[in-house]
């Protein structure tokens, strides 16, 4: 609800309890999800993942020779992740091209989220590059990127033990909810917890949080994510199946 209190100032009136989500979803309901595999022809593997208005492309190149050479590992291949928002993708000002502190950190935690499922033991001195690009964003970009990257790695035929699914849970006022959109994410009395989970083992490979939360609520958040990740896994699986269907 928006009220004009003073001339020229628009102030959001914060209800003490979050009755209904801004976009009308149930508290444990994700935004609509779509996924595709193999959409970038030149890449060795690729994935596309859309959740609500957040859209992520991921492409995998490799295993290929690692440059610069000093970063090579003779014992196993290296996983390298590059996360990038397209300059026109954000709801506010243009995002200046090139790496920022934020995108570097997200690249780093995304790499850690994917690393436990890939087996690069056979690829000494090689690198597997994962490029994540976001043409349109509405919160949850690192999770969408991870979901797309997981599809891309599988599509590229990189040996994997499991799929990685990721979604954010959080709190707005007094309600726990899953898959925050931008309006909820930027709510002043809100908490955002992106979590990446391995599908079979239910292990967590990424967790971050900002905001104040009780440990009981954190448990609730993890439970919500578990349920949501099962749904995400199905969509990822279908996308991969569809690409490898005979006739495609």
């Amino acid at each position: 609800m928006r009220l004009n209190l003073r001339q020229g100032h628009r102030v959001r009136v914060i209800p003490m309890t979050y009755e209904k989500r801004f976009d009308g979803r149930a508290f444990d309901e994700m935004r609509p999800i779509e996924a595709k595999a193999g959409i970038i022809k030149r890449a060795h593997g690729s994935g596309w993942f859309k959740i609500g208005n957040t859209e992520a492309y991921a492409a995998v190149y490799g295993p290929r020779e690692m440059f610069p050479r000093f970063m090579q590992n003779p014992k196993k291949g290296v996983l390298r992740v590059h996360y990038n928002m397209m300059p026109f993708s954000s709801a506010g000002d243009r995002v200046r091209p090139g790496p920022s502190r934020r995108s570097k950190e997200i690249s780093h935690v995304t790499q850690k989220a994917l690393l436990p499922v890939v087996d690069l033991g056979e690829f000494s001195n090689a690198v597997v590059d994962v490029f994540i690009e976001l043409p349109q964003t509405d919160a949850g970009t690192r999770c969408a990127g991870i979901c797309a990257a997981s599809i891309a790695l599988a599509d590229a035929g990189i040996p994997m033990k499991d799929m990685v699914c990721a979604i954010s849970a959080g709190r707005v006022d007094d309600k726990m909810l899953v898959d925050l959109n931008y309006e909820e994410d930027s709510h002043e009395n809100g908490v955002d917890i992106p979590i990446a989970m391995l599908h079979n083992s239910k292990k967590i490979s990424l967790i971050q949080m900002d905001g104040e939360l009780s440990s009981d609520d954190l448990k609730k958040a993890v439970e919500m994510v578990k349920k949501a990740c099962d749904e995400i896994f199905e969509v990822q699986k279908q996308a991969l199946k569809k690409k490898f269907e005979i006739g495609n």
């Binding site: 030149r42 890449a43 026109f88 490029f131 349109q136």
Partner: protein, 256 residues
């Protein structure tokens, strides 16, 4: 290094054929979709065969340049995303990306299609800046024309965000379009030996002798030129390439 490939392309061209079975002057299928990124003021995705690029327009309010106090301005930036080719690397734009951006910028700017006077809000203080970013998704050849088409389609799709004189409200889009008066089209022609072709695929792009990008207006006049490639060409070759570009521009303009 690509001598053999070049010979192969030339021997095919002498039989009016191409590596992928097309005729020399034939484009692959072109698809343009607008409104593909909701947060941009305008956006477009262009496919030429398997080549795919996405462009977005952001509108900003800025102080005008001192020498043009009552004109807004525009800028084209090209990001060769490393996801779209094994040959593209991360890091600041290289010379290929810069040339692509400047070729696109020049065709739009020199056609004077964008009325920069109408982008003035308060002379000497506030003007609109049109920033066009083009990101590549898949490079299967001829990024030149794909990037141009995406930039132009995104500009045609763009609407102004609400501006109350103080603050920009990107959430609130008006219905007002950019002040565009004409539709210039940019066509790139490639030369191999005595033959010319349009819309090269990756392999063909490795082995060309010369390249000419031509900006063409509706009335057939030219608004920009850029030659590339390592060999010099005779004037008659330039005229031939311009003629082909003019002919092909009519076909491309139908998609905009």
């Amino acid at each position: 290094m690509y001598e053999e490939l070049r010979n192969q392309v030339i021997s095919l061209l002498s039989k009016q054929a191409r590596l992928d079975g097309r005729k020399p002057h034939e484009y692959r299928e072109i698809k343009i979709e607008t409104g593909v990124s909701k947060n941009a003021e305008g956006s477009a995705k262009v496919k030429i065969g398997d080549t795919e690029v996405i462009a977005g327009v952001k509108l900003e309010v800025m102080k005008p340049y001192p020498d043009t106090p009552d004109n807004g301005s525009m800028m084209v930036n090209v990001e060769l995303c490393p996801m779209s080719s094994p040959e593209f690397e991360t890091g600041p734009p290289d010379i290929f990306a810069i040339e692509l951006a400047r070729i696109t910028d020049r065709a739009i700017r020199e056609s004077k299609t964008l009325d920069t006077k109408k982008l003035c809000i308060t002379p000497g203080e506030k003007v609109w800046m049109v920033v066009i970013d083009v990101c590549t998704l898949n490079d299967a050849g001829n990024l030149y024309d794909a990037i141009y088409l995406a930039a132009m389609a995104a500009m045609k799709d763009a609407v102004f965000p609400a501006f109350d004189g103080e603050k920009l409200d990107y959430k609130n889009k008006t219905k007002e379009k950019l002040p565009l008066s004409r539709v210039p089209v940019s066509v790139t022609v490639f030369k191999y030996g005595d033959h010319i072709l349009v819309d090269p695929m990756n392999e063909e792009e490795k082995a060309f002798d010369a390249r000419l990008t031509v900006g063409v207006l509706e009335n057939g006049n030219l608004c920009s030129l850029q030659k590339g490639g390592d060999t010099a060409v005779v004037a008659d070759d330039i005229f031939r390439m311009v003629d082909l570009a003019k002919q092909k521009s009519q076909e491309l303009r139908k998609h905009l």
